[in-house]
Symmetry: C2
Subunit: 194 residues, 2 copies
DNA sequence: ACTTTATATATCGAATTGATATTATACATC
DNA sequence: GATGTATAATATCAATTCGATATATAAAGT
């Protein structure tokens, strides 16, 4: 299930250009599968070479030609085979969590900033989920609805966990108060909310 | 926050070889940061070149020399700077969710298998979390404890979501019941548990 | 006797990321 | 009137990362 296969999957919903696919990756797929032009265009070229998609060039004045790709019967078969993988992976790559592992080497104020920024990022995702839900979710296949719900559930869990446990990170640690910061962790000591 | 920086962070806990680091990535870090030998060894070489780690070769009979790396004062400074990034990312790459997006192109039995395998994978993580918690968590810095708790919370949320919503995917869709599977989705219709 | 597991480093092709280049229209902002 | 940013559209490239494989030996299980 590489970028090629996912592109093929999106094309089952109708013909699209690389640009269109990118927008798809940025909206519906953004919370679980990122792909930039650097992956999409080579993927489409390769799919076209293998005969899994067809390509129609549409000339436009000024703008570059629009290349609209459509899945072929061979492509559908290829996709069906790819979807037969019984154990597709689910990987997380979190510089956020890696950073938090080393919180004891950071200034308390910096930890707070990182946590606040993560919460803001989660909020942005949640806003996007709500908008998708309001706009177009009704005409999606059940699979896409399941995936959106998954994103919502996981986001909510992350948000709640951070809100309820951030005190662990900023409560007086005694370590690495390197230079002269030892003031802003006064009030964070006494709420043991679980 | 690339592999290099994370290696540097792990080395703040004491000197270690590439092999040791790999084991670290496979246990504590496995749920949010994967790194194979193909990233770790080049990372260590590069860190040594930059003087951010020192390397002591320890000869062993039979086995290859053990190269034990230790963080240097320059390395500590480099790490502190890296940890100052206020918005470290948190990315998911899920072939599982991508697959589920196209559930309407799959046989119901195959969907069930994918869901069961994902649940099994989650269970494996949860078992690992419990073991880590029992064994060594007490002597970890708060950051590592926060991160482990994060993993547990997210895993639990994923597990619950899949258990409660899998019926969405296998409930009669009418689509692509390709050959002769149309029997095992009888009982999944009536529980609307939210 | 055979196979797997653990210790240990190293490399390589393939895939992916992230940034940048190009070209043009349109709409704001200064 | 000029500058900046957004949108539409494709393309490429270096750096990074992934996954698999090679090498070598000892211990431990079957």
């Amino acid at each position: 299930m590489d970028v090629k296969t996912v592109c093929l999957g999106i094309l089952t919903d109708g013909p699209a250009s690389g640009y269109d696919l990118k927008k798809h990756f940025e909206s519906t797929f953004s919370h679980f599968f990122a792909a930039g032009y650097g992956s999409i265009y080579p993927a489409l070229s390769s799919l076209a070479e293998q005969g899994l998609v067809s390509c129609e060039e549409i000339r436009q004045e000024g703008k570059p030609d629009r290349k609209v790709y459509a899945i072929t019967p061979d492509g559908r078969e290829f996709l069906r085979d790819a979807l037969r993988n019984p154990s597709p992976c689910h990987k997380v790559r979190s510089e956020f969590l890696a950073t938090m592992c080393f919180a004891h080497l950071m200034r308390p104020g910096d930890i707070e900033t990182v946590l606040d920024n993560r919460l803001a990022d989660i909020a942005r995702y949640q806003a996007m989920f709500q908008q998708l839900e309001a706009e177009c979710m009704c005409d999606w296949p059940q699979g896409a609805q399941f995936v959106l719900g998954f994103g919502k559930a996981v986001s909510a869990a992350m948000e709640a966990y951070i809100a309820e446990n951030r005190h662990m990170l900023t409560a007086s640690s005694g370590a690495s108060t390197t230079t002269s910061e030892r003031n802003e962790n006064h009030e964070a000591r006494h709420h043991h909310a679980s």
